[in-house]
Symmetry: C2
Subunit: 166 residues, 2 copies
Amino acid sequence: MLRLVVSYALISRPTLAGTLALPFQPSPSVDAVAEQIRRTGARATPARIRVLQLLRDAPAALTHNEIESALGARAIDRVTLYRVLDWLAESGLAHKNTDAHRVYRFSAAAAGEHLTHVHFRCEDCGGVFCLAAAPPAAPALPLGFSLSRVDFDLRGRCAGCCAASS
Amino acid sequence: MLRLVVSYALISRPTLAGTLALPFQPSPSVDAVAEQIRRTGARATPARIRVLQLLRDAPAALTHNEIESALGARAIDRVTLYRVLDWLAESGLAHKNTDAHRVYRFSAAAAGEHLTHVHFRCEDCGGVFCLAAAPPAAPALPLGFSLSRVDFDLRGRCAGCCAASS
DNA sequence: CGACCAGACGCAACATTGTTGCAATAACTT
DNA sequence: AAGTTATTGCAACAATGTTGCGTCTGGTCG
């Protein structure tokens, strides 16, 4: 839970607003989220609705652990949460990525996304920050290789962790 | 072991030679490797020598598992291998990265390395291929962030996995 | 409205990867 | 050759993620 709080605090800093591309969207109603889920042909269950809503409200990608904590009491089953997250990723409603600690992080899919993602990954707290910088063009691949996505990852320490250690 | 074999086979394909930047180096003698280890101030133990030699001969980054298999009989202890690998990474003799399956991969450090690395990561077999393409310039970071490395990661399926599934 | 049923859930058990504590060993020094 | 201390090996543990299977329920249809 601490890590989640830290991420929130960092991203909401005014000094970062100019360079960070926040995935903020007006928090959609339960009905809108449920409808979005149903459009995929699947059932709009409480677990899926709650998790997707949480992801859409979150300003950064969340881990399974952070989501479990954020759900607080009336937490849904650990395995169910894993399955919901995997389903969200497979159905395209969310993205599944790995952070610097080799843990999956999930974020709500937004409209107008690119093949290429530019992120800053803190090696200390594991947080992932979406940068607004223009992605570079992908180079040519060896014969027979097929490309599905491109990541431009900057690694180091985020402002919060730099400040905390000095 | 299978995965290791596959990686070797793929990388050694002639059609890929032009685009892949192989970390091949003339396999150094045991003495040379031992001396390199001693120069760091640590002891040149059989475990460290064997592992570092293996990494230098490998054309791709290897996982703990692959290294364990490659050592075959007279395998060194699982924990010792973890510690040797971590020590190699900390002392700068090897690099420690994460593959598409969130597993650490280790590769021997080579002279003349850049801050930026360009890799193709197969989402199927988890293999990591070092590309020769010129790395793009890193964009500006938000205030207070410090940069330690830049990764330009192309993800998809490698030639071997594409061929295997068709 | 009420029954149906495939899809979703919850529980338990398991798999893999990586880590920690501690006593025994061996690499380097003198 | 003996001594020091870094390194090893064993055992136990931790965290993350997965699988099997019986139960429940969301959406549909009569």
